[in-house]
């Protein structure tokens, strides 16, 4: 087995689900072929067992031939060993086929997510992408996995039918026609069972959601009360799930019973007809034993047909869902012939009239918080807008180049799980010395000190072990570490205490010396440290100056910053 995952998954075929599945199959043709070969050998050896046992019975109890009996018993053991070996090799290839297809799907999805960037969360709910990882990759893997047994089933049904028809046309026909009928009858119950199982899983998911909800809000419940209400509500829903479970059980028990009855009826029919043929001298006792065995065995390949059909359909549906992601295109498209963006220069947003001079430490105050966010998104080209850097429109350059020049860090910016050192320095270009400088600038020393492993500590996803204020400061460290020419910070200190905010405000300007920084805030502690403050009303810059100048001369600014009080 070659090691997985492969370094480069290649470019997926996204025109249709079927083409996508063929594209996957094309990368693992060898293992698919091996799997099929061993699948055929495995199932055929199982199919031959009744024949060998029948010959053994004939040799022993009919002809009383000990040597021949020993030979047939030996053949049986050889056959069993072959079956085991082929079964194992089939399984190993099937596992590889499963993993190879599902890994390639995950890799393609991640690569495409990287291409989509900010567009992805806007266009596809997290749940849908998680479903790709949780179930769709499995279904796609299963569709390729089942090919091995599917091939075995096809060949086996043909071979066994031929053997049976050769031995006795009547009995052969009974088995060859009877088994599919028997399977069809049993499968009538499968659909209602499936429906109820889906309902059960749905309800089970909702109940789990309810329990997780209780656990997540446990601080509130234990702190303020309401335990008995939540306990009894959970109990009611749990009992409802139990009822649904029993109703699944009702259909399931019928299915279990039919799985016994239907093949048994067929076997009894074969035995009855066969016994009469034995009396008539048409077949031997041993052959009757074989027929009994074949009728039992044929259930296996035919069930595999049903299973394969189901898995192919599910695989196709899953591939369709994966394609929904792979076919998405970024909202902000790169121009056909991108130009080089200048490294520095004034950054200007035409709509608001804001201009950011190179090297400045500037603050932005807006009467409505959403306006500041809109301006930041335009400046960072997360939304389309008329924005120029040293006169060159951002829209004429690639997104990648815009990101290299301008970084927007807001409070929705995500902390990822991983070692703290790597999360704070995602590009991995700095040493600990520089990292410590950024940590000091963001006044985050206490966070690192409180961690027993310091910078090597593991950050849980979303940084959920940290308080809101701590997360904010860690985000700030990360933004500072990029050393980007133009940094736009949206409300970076809204959740930290006044002492810390004052420290950050004092250190930030010095840290960003020589590079351009825009910070949106309404805190006087921050505004007073900025070289210049722009005041935005209704989305337009209406006044600019230092904090003190604006406080003195601009009553509307004064009102927003002091919240209308003394």
């Amino acid at each position: 087995m070659r090691p997985l995952p492969v370094a480069d998954p290649g470019t997926p075929e996204v025109r249709s689900a079927t083409r996508y599945l063929w594209w996957l199959a094309g990368h693992q043709l060898g293992n698919l072929a091996y799997g099929m070969f061993f699948g055929i050998a495995w199932m055929l050896s199982g199919a031959l067992m009744p024949y060998v046992l029948g010959r053994g019975v004939d040799a022993g109890v009919v002809h009383r031939d000990l040597t021949s009996l020993a030979q047939w018993a030996g053949v049986f053991i050889l056959l069993a060993a072959t079956q085991t070996t082929c079964g194992l090799l089939r399984h190993r290839n099937a596992v590889f086929n499963f993993l190879s297809a599902s890994f390639r799907t995950v890799q393609s999805a991640i690569a495409h997510a990287g291409k989509l960037g900010a567009t992805l969360p806007k266009r596809l709910a997290t749940g849908e992408v998680v479903a790709i990882g949780a179930s769709d990759t499995n279904h796609i893997g299963n569709a390729l996995d089942i090919t091995a047994r599917f091939a075995g089933a096809i060949v086996t049904v043909i071979v066994v039918s031929v053997i049976l028809l050769n031995a006795s046309v009547t009995l052969g026909l009974v088995v060859v026609l009877g088994v599919p009928v028997a399977i069809a009858i049993t499968s009538l119950l499968v659909k209602p069972l499936h429906h109820r199982q889906v309902a059960y899983r749905h309800q089970q998911g909702a109940l789990t959601g309810r329990a997780v909800d209780i656990v997540s809000g446990l601080r509130v419940l234990r702190g303020i009360g309401g335990e008995s209400v939540f306990s009894s509500r959970f109990r009611t829903e749990s009992q409802k799930l139990r009822d649904t479970g029993v109703s699944v059980g009702r259909v399931d028990s019928l299915l279990e019973a039919s799985k016994i009855t239907v093949p048994a009826l067929l076997m009894i029919l074969v035995t009855w007809l066969g016994a009469r043929q034995v009396i008539a001298g048409e077949i031997s006792v041993g052959q009757l034993v074989s027929f009994y065995g074949y009728a039992t065995f044929m259930v296996v390949p035919l069930r595999t047909f049903g299973e394969a059909l189901d898995k192919f359909i599910r695989g196709h549906v899953a591939a369709t869902r994966v394609l929904k992601l792979l076919q998405l295109q970024p909202e902000i498209a790169d121009p056909a012939t991108p130009v080089q963006l200048p490294v520095s220069g004034p950054l200007a947003d035409v709509k608001s009239g804001l201009t950011l001079q190179p090297g400045i430490f500037m603050a932005l105050v807006s009467d409505r918080p959403d306006d500041a966010i809109d301006i930041a998104d335009r400046l960072g080209r997360y939304t389309d807008g008329e924005v120029t850097l040293a006169g060159v429109p951002l829209s004429s350059a690639t997104r990648e180049q815009v990101r290299q020049r301008i970084l927007v860090s807001d409070n929705n910016s995500r902390l990822f799980s991983g070692a703290l050192r790597e999360e704070l320095d995602p590009t991995g270009r700095c040493d600990d010395e520089e990292l410590r400088r950024a940590i000091t600038a963001a006044s985050a020393e206490d966070i690192v000190e409180a961690l027993p492993e310091g910078l090597d500590a593991f950050v849980a996803e979303r940084g959920r072990e940290f308080s809101g204020g701590q997360q904010q400061r860690l985000r700030l460290v990360r933004a500072l570490m990029t050393d980007v020419p133009i940094l736009i910070l949206v409300e970076p200190t809204s959740a930290v205490d006044a002492h810390t905010e004052a420290r950050i405000a004092a250190r930030l300007g010095a840290y960003r010396q020589g590079r351009t920084t825009l910070i949106t805030s309404t805190s006087p502690l921050v505004l007073d440290r900025a070289e210049r403050v722009a005041f935005v009303e209704d989305g337009k810059v209406i006044a600019e100056g230092t904090h003190r100048e604006l406080m003195a001369n601009e009553p509307r600014y004064h009102a927003v910053v002091t919240r209308g009080e003394d």
Partner: protein, 579 residues
């Protein structure tokens, strides 16, 4: 904050619990086992009658005799089918009953975890137990336990029939036993760990995917998509290793188990034939024996394949039971509060031994006073807040209300005195009314609306499509973090304790509206004692007294004007704010 891990029950505790469940559902268990036993007995009809048929055929017989035997086969098959139906239904009913009991019991255990543990353990571990362990156990109880039970009954009945048919013919199949015993022992010792690793690597991969989607904008901003790829490839690599490990176990175990299944068939065929030639067994008995041994393969196979799942289920049960093993943190002594005065005297507290985060805090808060706590992060404000709310007890010293130590009051009574709201908030799945009424189940719409008014939330609530009946916490209607904080405060207004500890309870609300909210809240809470840990200076300015906490001590204490006049660190901060 130092995290504490929740305990896990040991195997003796798990066994005790399993026995308790078995005793409790004794009658139903007997019914299930009995029905399955009878069904398995009926299942023996086919091979035994078939053996008879072979004997008769060899001796030469009539069509009439054959027909009779065929009718007997038919009768056995139908009886087996009917019994199987009722046995399966009975075991489903029992499984669902026990499962519902287990999960309800677990939720009740969760709901009685001591408050200090909830605050300190965090909810991550509990969420895992609630989702993954309950699901794993559910699979075990619904499928694993019945399947194992059926398999055991079938093995006993089929094996019994073989011995009854001819003890001599039962001997050859023993050749499989050493393979099965040795193989299974070897496998089980390794399987659980390997499969748990496989599951863990699957979850890890899934977590990575979730992060990649939710954080896609951040990834793009930092040009970190290569890192996401590397992380995914690493996760896949670990997943591959885990899959290879379990595959390796199966590669060893399956052939051994297969030999354990197949050798008995071959040896029964050979020795059966030999016994027949010696005249020790009839031909029919030999054929029946071969068929019975074949019939044993399936239940033995099923039993073995469920063994590791049962162990996984047992491990999950241990984690679920462990939740109730947290010792109670309150020593109710029967003391009663004389009045509503909150006092802290000589309070020291440490999360880790010998490293106090509070160094002898003295603080006395008069009923109706509004105290603001300010200070740099990490100074111990939140810790002091939790002690003042009676969630944890001090290492030395005392925190009392009306002379009674908070940690000696029963939880119900404590809640009547003091409540804590932190910046961590939660919106429950349910209507807005339900989200608030948990604090006061008897509250009517007027009271709820008044509480919403007090936190400036009535406006947006009335704009909701279904007002108080709007279902929150689902994808249908998401409230913003700021709105969630408002609702958390509204709950507190409804709960109406005489003392409120607010730990940055308005930090997520836009500073432009936070001050207005705090003022309207203050109007409603007139006469209540409020301790507010605040990061905005206007909150301190509006309070009766300000406590500046620095390095685990109260460095400055007094009214805003006094502190400004005293020219300490508070005054310096205030002046830069006022600039």
């Amino acid at each position: 904050m130092a995290r504490v891990a929740l305990p896990v029950a040991d195997s003796a505790e798990v066994k005790r619990y399993a026995k308790f469940l078995m005793r409790k559902h004794y009658a139903r268990l007997i019914e299930v086992v009995g029905l399955h036993g009878l069904a398995a007995l009926a299942g023996l009809g086919a091979p035994l009658v078939f053996g008879q048929l072979i004997d008769r055929l060899r001796a030469g017989t009539s069509f009439a005799t054959v027909d009779k035997l065929i009718l007997a086969l038919l009768a056995f098959a139908l009886t087996q089918a009917v019994l199987t139906r009722f046995a399966a239904l009975a075991s489903t009913k029992l499984g669902e009953l026990v499962l519902a009991e287990l999960r309800e019991d677990f939720v009740d255990r969760v709901l009685s975890i001591p408050l200090s543990t909830v605050e300190r353990a965090g909810t991550g571990d509990l969420v895992t137990r609630t989702s993954r362990d309950v699901a794993a156990l559910s699979h075990t109880v619904r499928r694993g336990v019945p399947e194992t039970l059926i398999a055991m009954v079938s093995i006993l009945v089929t094996g019994g029939a073989l011995v009854w048919l001819s003890p001599l013919l039962a001997l050859p199949c023993l050749v499989g036993v050493p393979f099965l015993v040795a193989g299974t022992r070897w496998y089980l010792r390794r399987a659980v760990k390997a499969y748990l690793r496989e599951n863990a690597s699957n979850s890890e991969l899934l977590d990575g995917l979730t992060e990649a989607v939710e954080g896609a904008r951040t990834t793009e901003a930092f040009g970190a998509d290569k890192r996401r790829k590397v992380r995914t490839d690493n996760d896949l690599r670990e997943n591959y290793r885990a899959e290879r490990a379990t595959l390796g176990l199966r590669t060893v175990f399956w052939p051994i188990a297969d030999m354990g299944f197949m050798l008995p068939i071959a040896s029964t065929l050979f020795f059966g034939g030999w016994f027949f030639m010696q005249g020790w067994a009839t031909a029919g008995a030999v054929v029946s024996a071969v068929l019975l041994v074949q019939q044993l393969v399936d239940p033995v196979d099923r039993l073995l394949s469920w063994m590791d799942e049962l162990q996984v289920g047992g491990a999950s049960l241990a984690r679920l039971l462990g939740v109730s093993m947290v010792g109670d943190d309150r020593k109710v002594t029967g003391v009663a509060a004389a009045d509503e005065r909150l006092d802290a005297r000589g309070v020291r507290y440490s999360y880790v031994d010998d490293r106090d985060v509070l160094h002898g805090v003295d603080l006395s808060i008069a009923p109706g006073e509004r105290l603001a706590m300010v200070g740099p992060s990490g100074a111990g404000k939140s810790t002091l807040g939790r002690l003042l709310a009676g969630i944890d007890g001090p290492r030395t010293g005392a925190v009392t209300v009306g002379g009674a130590p908070l940690v000696e009051l029963p939880l119900e009574e404590l809640r009547g005195h003091v409540a804590l709201v932190t910046q961590e908030h939660h919106i429950f799945l349910g209507t807005l009314r339900e989200n608030l009424a948990l604090a006061k189940p008897t509250a009517d719409d007027e009271e709820i609306k008044a509480a919403l008014q007090a936190v400036d939330a009535l406006d947006w609530v009335e704009e909701l499509p279904e007002g108080l009946d709007t279902v929150l916490g689902s994808a249908k209607h998401n409230v913003s973090p700021a709105q969630a904080q408002q609702l958390a405060l509204a709950r507190l207004v409804l709960a109406d304790p005489h003392t409120l500890v607010l730990d940055e309870a308005t930090s997520l609300i836009d500073p432009r509206s936070a001050r207005h909210l705090e003022r309207s809240l203050a109007a409603v809470l007139e006469g209540r004692t409020v301790v507010a840990i605040a990061h905005r200076l206007f909150s301190a300015h509006d309070a009766d007294r300000v406590a500046v906490v620095e390095e685990g001590k109260i460095a400055e204490l007094g009214s805003h004007d006094e502190l400004v006049a005293a020219n300490g660190s508070y005054a310096a901060l205030w002046r830069s704010w006022q600039a």
